[in-house]
């Protein structure tokens, strides 16, 4: 796989151009290339030569040889591809295929060869691509030049204006005003500078303090996703291997016989390095999950465009024999919320005693580990005023001169403590990250999606409101919307709680152990 050099040699043995891709001394490459013409025999129907140390793969082009010097282990199929590619390029860059022509185009050829082979490895490119790469016509450069030009023009304008102002002020000065004004201003500026020094040192200290928390945040997330990925991949791998048994029995036979012959083959390969504990499997007999999902659209000038909260209560039972139970719950008494039970649930029992049990008490609840368990209860809330919204965002883009200042602030309702808040503000396509003037919490710029992400780990009573300010080149303010927000909370609108489990059979009356999870999460929370 390693191409040592790509060269063009004349039939008489003169080295016209050679480009080496691995480190080798000059005497070595010259020796190899000098030996080549002597090794080329006439009347052979193949175009490679092997010596003790290297292999030459060549192609005659009129009075020249185009050749690759490779290692002997090199993949001939790939090398021939490379050679073919190069042979197409040579006539593209050299007018005449003789010594003079190649000599004139030597450097262009070297540039072209570089595009095809990088560090000895073949690049998959086409002739057109190579030409494009060598022409180096860049759209972005043109854009950049235009921007530069306009900037220059702008500056000229500014210059003119300033010049006018100065002229004016000069005229005013000549009118005879004198004083220590100038010295005053100089003092002020000194004061300013010392202040800014202080603030910098303070800021850095603060940054240091917030360091660990940031680290935690960034660490936690990838772990979760990786664990998920892995569990998913292992789940999907299992059925796939059985599918292989049916479909590609031939390959499997190969493996089987390899095993029989003593090869150790591990079929379901899981990455071993960096293993981390996967999500612990549920060990408690009962798991009850209360989950509320928010779909909210806020208007950018305040007010709610739409509000929708959907809640579910689901029950997961580990063992079949524990299926005969009832659930005692307590609702928060929010009048805006309407509960709906599953059709199989005894509705009267729920309405009267807030107990969830099956209509036919001789049947158990379905069991199983998969999924979220069985949904028992659903509820919705659609009407809400602004005070009910957990988090409001206020975004003020303002254009001043050549820059757009964007200041964002959030205000959280005291009803909820929010965790893992991420506010994503879309930006125009930028080359550099925006200049952030001020920020409560942390921020990150994702250049691929051009989004600035403002993250606050926890919003509680200490920071019910916060703000961030950044500067970008001038753009239309509508670019910054829709802002999307993600967060989670452990308190819910409904305030639904599970008070206990009532076993219907045996058990001696002791309440079984159960786990309750309650969370409020955002599904689609946007400022439009």
């Amino acid at each position: 796989m390693v191409v040592l050099a790509a060269s063009i040699v004349s039939k008489s043995g003169k080295v016209l151009v050679s480009r080496q891709y691995v480190d080798m001394s000059r005497i070595r490459i010259e020796g190899l290339l000098a030996a080549f013409p002597k090794l080329v025999g006439m009347g052979k129907q193949h175009t490679y030569i092997e010596t003790d140390n290297v292999r030459y793969v060549y192609q005659p082009i009129e009075a020249l040889f185009l050749l690759l010097v490779t290692t002997k282990q090199s993949n001939i199929l790939e090398d021939l591809d490379t050679l073919r590619m190069l042979s197409k390029l040579v006539p593209e860059y050299s007018m005449s295929l003789d010594e003079d022509g190649i000599g004139r185009a030597a450097f262009e050829l070297i540039f072209a060869f570089d595009e095809v082979i990088s560090l000895g490895h073949k690049e998959s490119v086409t002739v057109a691509q190579v030409k494009q790469y060598c022409e180096m016509e860049s759209h972005e450069e043109k854009l950049h030049k235009l921007v530069m030009q306009s900037k220059i023009n702008d500056t000229k304008d500014v210059m003119k204006r300033k010049a006018n102002e100065i002229d004016k002020s000069k005229i005013e000065k000549t009118r005879g005003e004198k004083g220590g004004f100038s010295s005053m201003s100089s003092m002020g500026s000194r004061l300013d500078s010392s202040f800014s020094d202080m603030s910098i040192s303070h800021g850095s200290g603060g940054g240091f303090g917030s360091g660990p928390s940031f680290g935690m945040l960034s660490d936690v997330e990838p772990i979760n996703t990786k664990a998920k990925d892995r569990s998913r991949s292992s789940v999907t791998a299992a059925p796939k291997s059985s599918g292989m048994k049916l479909g590609k029995s031939g390959k499997n036979q190969l493996m089987e016989s390899l095993k029989a012959e003593g090869e150790d083959i591990i079929e379901d390969v899981k990455p071993t390095g960096q293993t981390r504990a996967a999500v612990a499997a549920p060990t408690d007999p009962f798991t009850l999950t209360v989950e509320e999902k928010l779909n909210v659209a806020l208007r950018r000038d305040g007010g709610i465009s739409s509000f929708d909260m959907q809640g579910t209560l689901s029950l997961q039972i580990l063992n079949q024999e524990d299926g005969f139970v009832q659930v005692q719950i307590e609702t928060g008494g929010n009048p805006d919320i309407l509960f709906k039970t599953h059709p199989n649930i005894n509705r009267e029992l729920f309405n009267s005693e807030s107990i969830l049990g099956l209509k036919r008490p001789d049947q158990p609840f379905p069991t199983g580990q998969g999924g979220d368990g069985v949904g028992l209860l659903r509820w919705r809330m659609q009407r809400a005023d602004e005070s009910m919204v957990p988090l409001t965002i206020n975004c003020w883009p303002s254009v001043s001169g050549n820059e757009t200042y964007v200041s964002i602030e959030y205000e959280a309702s005291s009803m909820f403590d929010l965790t893992n808040v991420i506010i994503s503000v879309p930006l125009p396509a930028l080359r550099d990250a925006p200049i952030v003037k001020q920020c409560d919490g942390d921020w990150r710029y994702d250049s691929r999606n051009s989004v600035v992400e403002w993250s606050i780990l926890l919003i509680d009573n200490s920071n019910r409101s916060g703000s961030m300010e950044f500067v970008v080149p001038p753009v239309d303010s509508s670019v910054f919307f829709p802002i999307s927000v993600q967060f989670a909370a452990t308190t819910t609108y409904s305030g639904l709680k599970v008070n206990g489990m009532i076993p219907l059979r045996g058990g001696g009356g002791a309440t079984p152990r159960f786990v309750q999870r309650t969370q409020l999460i955002t599904q689609n929370y946007q400022v439009v």
């Binding site: 060269s7 000059r26 282990q73 199929l77 180096m136 003593g262």
Partner: protein, 948 residues
């Protein structure tokens, strides 16, 4: 190691570029002129002319240029320029280019960024790279894949530099992240490559977490995966099992390059029969699907490697291998047959021979150029089969005998020698072969084949009917006697006129040739023509082939006819009871012989009969006239016996060769034993490949040097100046393949500092100095080492001469010390090699340069002399030891060697022991180039004197 070179451009010394012109052009504003000047500057740099003042000009005037081509050329210039001082510290002015490089890395043009990143890949100086690292990292997230892919490579190269890990502590992590989101196949490949070389465990992790997707990956990425697997398995053989599945899934990839690589990997990782079989099968499929000859040949190489290590598995695939014979390329066919012949067993011999027969028949129908040669190859293959497995001989011999009349003399010759061997070794086939031969004898057209066929008839016609049949066949082929009639003689003037000029030309073109047994003989041009161009008899079916050949003047054939007839008659005497019949035959035979003699002396023959044939025919006549038992015994039995002896010796030799071959594959005494019932250890065997790939690269780049014996090194020291010279110098000469390295130790013997000391070397012959000499200053009584490299481009004795020039402080003139010449020995470049007899003879005929050295030696024994020549010329003796046996006072042998540049050197030794005990004769050297012939001749002249 020497400074590595990254590019070469041919530079015409005829038009020297002046530094001043370049400078002016660089300072100007004309872009075209600037480009040209940059190119010239780079070329000058390549030729070792570092014009230091140019560098500042370039920094001042070229760095700010906006033109892309200029920027690229600038990068080339920077790539070539010496960036460190003699102590390895980075020159201070290099800091100036850093800013420019950083600007380039942040350039709005993505291609400028890309090429700059690529330039960074070739940069070795950590100090220059260091300030650029943040910019490199930013490019990892550039929008354009072209930039990203080069950025990844740049990160990899920088990370690999000494101390590179400190520049990029978290490089592997970043690349891993980039890899997970990367879409561009090339950038993805590069990222994976980076992980593979810099953080293997991360690459493994990525691979294993994407096991299911491997088969969908891009071709180039799959290649790196295979490379990774090989490297991981090398270091941790225990984890091999994890990867076999991946390899097997890649075996069904779409790209043939990947499949090829896969098979190679499989072979290197496992020696389990299934794995080998899968790999071999893959190779066979590729053989059939790929149309490129190069690919086929290399695949065949791989197969023959497999064959030597896993013959039992390859045996199963022999028919698949033989399918490749459909390719029209002779080299491929030859290789295929070579492989197939080693794989023949009792089980597949029939199939193989069937297939070969089919191919032979095919060559008859198609009218392709190389058919004759191909047929010859096939016949040789069948011959080899039949020797190994005599039972198949019966099925093929008749088919092959159809080719006796072939117009291709070589293949007909092969057939007839095949028949000769079979008829001796396989007595059961004798009768059928003889009948067949007698039936087809009249078809034989070639003057070379006839004698052999006649010999078979003479030796193996045993029964009465066969003998009679034989005699009549010969008579038939000779046609009506006498060979020329008076009517023909009536127009002798015409024919002789026609023939005369040609024959005189022939006589003049007589030249010596080497006979098959190594003797150096003068061969008449006439018989040579029969050798090279088959004399196919013109319109001769009516007159018989023997007659026609005789009429062209082939009297050697006449002698053979006479001998055959004599043998047949002698045998007839044994089997025929009727005396009259015998006598009748004897008279007929005598008549034939006499008419042949007559023809030989008549003007109708193109040239008169040679003495050898004449004597032989006369001997036959005498014998037939006075038959006795002793003579009969010699003619009928001894002749056959010597043939049997020859055959058995040949077989013995083949057996010995085979034994020598198998000896190496015997199990070692401490090898583990495989129990069939237990788990086989084959799969667990150590990886043979080990560092093969790495070594391969090292050998290719010339880094691989064997540890040499220091004592040996001391032997090769040459003293260059005298002990009393102000400067003492001695050199240690190492000859590598294509270059000679001189390590000169220079010692200042004076009490003054020598300034501007310079070692000036010049060469004669095909040698070239690589570098320009440098100036040094040498303190009193100190020594220093100067290295010089000299390039060699052909095998020839070369001479390096030179002098040391220096200045002292008080005398303002230069002193010169002339050095001893250094002779480069041709022996360092040639190595013993083997070639076939036929190839040797054709080369001998073709080569233009001959050097003839008269033997002049004190050695009195022929063998001893030959051994001495072989030893002192480093050549291989092609003439077999059995042919050199015996004390007859004559010795002839062929020697052969090949140079590292692929040139052939042929030597023929012909010596005779004089009556006074001294040896006389000639040694002839032939080669394509004058250099070899001359230098080898000098060498022999020098060395032949005695056992010094």
């Amino acid at each position: 190691m020497d400074k590595s070179s990254t590019l070469l451009v041919h530079y015409d010394k005829g038009t020297p570029a002046v530094a001043k012109e370049i400078k002016e052009a660089l300072e100007g504003n004309d872009v075209e002129a600037k480009v040209d000047a940059m190119k010239k500057a780079v070329m000058l740099l390549l030729n070792g002319e570092t014009i230091p003042q140019l560098f500042i000009t370039i920094i001042r005037y070229v760095l700010p240029s906006e033109d892309h081509t200029i920027q690229k050329l600038l990068l080339l210039y920077l790539e070539l320029i010496e960036k460190t001082d003699s102590k390895g510290k980075v020159l201070p002015e290099m800091i100036l280019i850093c800013q420019n490089l950083r600007n380039n890395l942040m350039h709005p043009n993505e291609y400028i960024r890309g090429v700059t990143l690529r330039f960074l890949c070739r940069l070795k100086e950590t100090e220059i790279v260091e300030p650029l690292t943040p910019s490199v990292l930013q490019n990892l997230e550039h929008r354009h894949p072209f930039v990203r892919r080069n950025a990844i490579l740049a990160v990899m190269s920088i990370y690999k530099l000494p101390n590179g890990e400190q520049l990029f502590v978290d490089a592997p992590e970043m690349i891993e992240k980039a890899l997970s989101t990367e879409q561009d196949p090339s950038a993805k490949r590069n990222a994976f490559l980076m992980l593979f070389t810099c953080a293997e465990e991360r690459a493994v992790y990525y691979l294993l977490s994407n096991v299911d997707k491997v088969s969908d990956w891009n071709e180039s990425l799959q290649m790196v995966v295979l490379e990774l697997i090989r490297s991981v398995c090398k270091t941790k053989p225990a984890e091999k099992g994890k990867y076999i599945k991946i390899i097997i899934s890649l075996l069904s990839a779409t790209s043939s390059a990947v499949i090829y690589e896969c098979a190679g990997t499989l072979v290197s990782l496992s020696s389990a029969p299934t794995a080998i079989r899968a790999a071999a099968n893959t190779y066979c499929q590729l053989l059939l699907s790929q149309s490129d000859n190069n690919v086929k040949l290399i695949l065949l190489d791989r197969l023959s490697e497999l064959k030597s290590s896993h013959r039992d598995i390859m045996v199963e695939l022999i028919i698949d291998v033989l399918r490749v014979l459909s390719s029209p390329n002779l080299d491929i066919r030859r290789k295929t047959l070579d492989i197939a012949l080693d794989l023949i067993t009792h089980h597949n011999i029939n199939e193989v021979v069937q297939m070969l027969k089919k191919e032979v028949v095919k060559t008859q129908s198609g009218e392709l150029e190389k058919n004759g040669e191909y047929r010859q190859m096939l016949i040789q293959a069948i011959h080899a089969c039949a020797v190994k497995f005599p039972e198949v001989a019966s099925t093929v011999v008749h088919l092959l005998m159809d080719f006796l009349g072939d117009s291709n003399v070589a293949s007909a010759l092969d057939v007839i020698s095949f028949v000769r061997e079979i008829i001796e070794t396989n007595p059961k086939l004798r009768v059928s072969i003889i009948t067949r031969l007698l039936d087809t004898f009249y078809q034989i057209r070639a003057g070379k084949v006839c004698p052999c066929a006649l010999w078979i008839i003479g030796e193996y016609c045993l029964s009465l009917s066969e003998v009679e049949n034989g005699i009549s066949t010969i008579k038939q082929c000779l046609g009506e006697l006498p060979f020329y009639s008076v009517s023909e003689e009536s127009a002798p003037t015409e024919t002789s006129k026609k023939i005369q000029p040609t024959s005189s030309a022939m006589v003049s073109s007589r030249k010596p040739v080497i006979l098959a047994d190594g003797t150096y003989a003068t061969q008449s041009a006439a018989s040579e023509t029969t050798f090279s161009t088959p004399t196919v008899v013109q319109g001769a079916l009516t007159s018989g082939n023997l007659r026609a050949l005789l009429l062209t003047g082939d009297f050697f054939l006449g002698a053979v006819v006479a001998c055959t007839l004599t043998k047949l008659v002698l045998r007839l005497e044994e089997v025929q009871s009727s005396k009259t019949e015998v006598n009748k035959t004897v008279t007929q035979a005598l008549l034939i012989m006499v008419s042949m003699l007559q023809l030989g002396q008549s003007p109708a023959s193109p040239h008169p009969i040679d003495n050898d044939s004449y004597e032989r025919i006369v001997l036959c006549i005498k014998l037939l006239c006075h038959r006795n038992d002793e003579m009969k015994k010699i003619w009928l039995e001894s002749c056959r016996q010597s043939f049997v002896k020859m055959i058995s010796e040949k077989q013995l030799r083949e057996m010995e060769e085979l034994k020598a071959k198998t000896q190496t594959t015997h199990a070692q005494p401490d090898d583990l034993i495989d129990f069939f019932h237990l788990k086989s250890r084959k799969g667990m065997s150590q990886l043979e490949l080990e560092d093969q790939v790495q070594d391969d690269l090292k050998r290719a780049t010339g880094e691989f040097t064997k540890d040499e014996n220091d004592a040996n090194k001391l032997n090769r020291i040459l003293q260059l100046t005298g002990f009393s010279d102000p400067v003492y110098a001695e050199a240690y000469v190492t000859v590598h393949h294509y270059d000679i390295a001189l390590e000169v130790t220079v010692i200042n013997r004076t009490k003054e500092t020598l300034q501007n000391l310079c070692l000036e070397l010049a060469t004669m012959g095909d040698l070239k100095l690589v570098e320009r000499p440098q100036n040094y200053s040498l303190a009193p009584a100190t020594s220093m080492q100067i290295k010089a490299n000299i390039k060699v481009s052909s095998t020839e004795t070369g001479v390096i001469f030179g002098n040391i020039v220096y200045e002292t402080s008080n005398v303002m003139e230069r002193n010169v010390v002339v050095l001893n010449d250094i002779h480069i020995d041709i022996m360092d470049y040639i190595s013993p090699a083997v070639c076939s007899d036929v190839a040797f003879r054709t080369m001998w005929a073709e080569f233009e340069w001959e050097n003839k050295v008269a033997v002049n030696t004190k050695i009195e024994n022929e063998r001893e002399f030959l051994d001495h020549i072989i030893k002192s010329t480093n050549m291989k003796c092609l003439t077999g030891p059995s042919e050199l046996e015996g004390e007859c006072g004559f010795l002839a042998a062929n020697l052969y060697a090949k140079s590292v540049f692929g040139e052939d050197a042929l030597v023929n030794v012909s010596i005779e022991k004089q009556t006074d005990g001294a040896l006389s004769g000639y040694i002839r050297i032939r080669s394509k180039t004058q250099g070899i012939a001359l230098s080898l001749g000098d060498k022999i002249t020098l060395k032949q004197k005695g056992s010094s």
